[in-house]
């Protein structure tokens, strides 16, 4: 057969496959969705090959088909043209990271360990945490709530942390009752400082998640959606908390009110504890908050959030991750 005959045969076959609907579909599937033809995953999810980039790419290709179809499309094409496994692995890793909220894969090898989870909680035992300039002012706020945090030596949790957390919980409840945006943000600050937001990502640190034995979520669309939602909500909560911190630090009157309310509440709760040692403060939050006083504050220019938005966050707090 002459080369031109061979070429003519291929052209004929190509035209014939596209003319027949079934063969055209088969060709399209082989071109764009070759993994559809497999009954089993290309790489088993529990197979871990360490530094073998092609295995990592295979696993990511499989996962992308289910979780990130656009990444799957790009990977399918790139596999045919890219010869460098390292470069391809980096491309796939970057593409997947574009679809993750709150965390990222540092290396494609991490794909075998489930959806990356990043705890954003306050770490009272980590000296580096309070060394960060944005978090250093928290030490002062903890002190107002009776919690002594030494930024130089925070290796263990302060003894009175549970009591202070109970006080903070009632304060947050009371602040939300006012409906004022500044108070709302201060409530989120208190919730975040004492790991009481109800959102796992906002309440726990990576170390705590590891120590509790919480497994990363599997690469499945619903788990991915949940993880992204949880991290987006955590970012929103912490954003509000940090705004609350700024507002608190800039307002001497609010600081004085907070300290006065902490003192009043601590006394009340100590008295209750003496009278009813087994009573939980949570059911009493409504009653205890009646004695607290918060003055309406002028609206801050950066308070763009509407009351409806804050209400949405409040509703989510009830069933946060």
């Amino acid at each position: 057969m002459k080369p031109q005959d061979f070429h003519a045969a291929i052209t004929f076959l190509s035209a014939a496959t596209l003319a027949d609907p079934f063969l055209a579909l088969c060709s399209a599937v082989a071109w764009l969705d070759p993994l559809a033809l497999l009954d089993e995953p290309l790489i088993e999810p529990d197979y871990y090959a360490g530094g073998d980039e092609w295995v990592n790419i295979g696993a990511a290709w499989d996962i992308s088909r289910v979780c990130f179809p656009a990444v799957y499309a790009e990977t399918t094409q790139a596999i045919r043209t890219e010869s460098s496994s390292q470069r391809l692995a980096d491309q796939v890793c970057t593409a997947i990271n574009r679809h993750l909220v709150g965390g990222e894969l540092h290396d494609l090898e991490q794909i075998f360990f489930g959806i990356p989870f990043f705890g954003l909680g306050v770490d009272l035992t980590d000296t580096d945490f309070f060394a960060s300039p944005q978090y250093t002012p928290l030490v002062e706020v903890y002190a107002w709530l009776g919690v002594a945090v030494d930024p130089e030596q925070t290796y263990s949790l302060p003894d009175n942390l549970p009591e202070a957390a109970q006080v903070a919980d009632v304060l947050a409840f009371s602040l939300r009752q006012t409906g004022h945006p500044t108070h709302e943000k201060l409530a989120w600050l208190l919730d975040w400082m004492f790991s009481q937001t109800g959102n796992t990502a906002a309440d726990y640190t990576d170390e705590e998640i590891y120590e509790m034995g919480i497994q990363p979520l599997a690469w499945e669309p619903n788990e991915l959606e949940f993880n992204n939602l949880m991290h987006a909500e955590a970012a929103e909560i912490i954003g509000n908390a940090m705004q609350g911190l700024d507002l608190l630090l800039a307002d001497d009157g609010l600081q004085a009110e907070l300290r006065a309310n902490v003192e009043s509440l601590s006394k009340q709760m100590k008295r209750i504890k003496k009278e009813k040692p087994h009573d939980r403060p949570q059911p009493d939050a409504q009653r205890l908050s009646r004695s607290l006083c918060w003055t309406d504050r002028p609206q801050q220019p950066d308070e763009q959030r509407s009351p409806d938005d804050l209400e949405g966050l409040q509703v989510r707090r009830a069933d946060a991750a």
């Binding site: 070429h7 291929i10 052209t11 190509s14 596209l18 609907p21 055209a24 579909l25 060709s27 399209a28 599937v29 082989a30 071109w31 764009l32 969705d33 559809a36 088909r65 179809p69 656009a70 799957y72 499309a73 790009e74 399918t76 094409q77 045919r80 043209t81």
Partner: protein
């Protein structure tokens, strides 16, 4: 009942998959089976066509699984010999 099913299936309009028309348009005349180089516009079309095709093959696989596990339908025709 069977005739009704056949009639319904025959009247299902053919599905136009973007992947098939894209393959017709992009397949190079030089003998390569699959197109591998794309303009930025074609790349966007390829991604959209892949997303559509993955959803389609997923629906087909799901339908195949359901058909493979259809429950038995009792016949109304008396077959006395069946017990034998």
């Amino acid at each position: 009942m069977l005739e009704q099913l056949i009639h319904s299936l025959e009247n299902v309009p053919p599905l136009e998959l973007g992947a098939v028309s894209l393959l017709s348009g992009l397949r190079p005349p030089t003998g390569e089976w699959f197109p591998t180089t794309f303009t930025p516009e074609a790349k966007i079309q390829v991604i959209a066509a892949t997303v559509e095709l993955v959803a389609y093959t997923g629906r087909c696989a799901e339908m195949g699984r359901r058909l493979a596990h259809l429950p038995a339908i009792p016949l109304t025709v008396p077959l006395m010999e069946f017990a034998l």
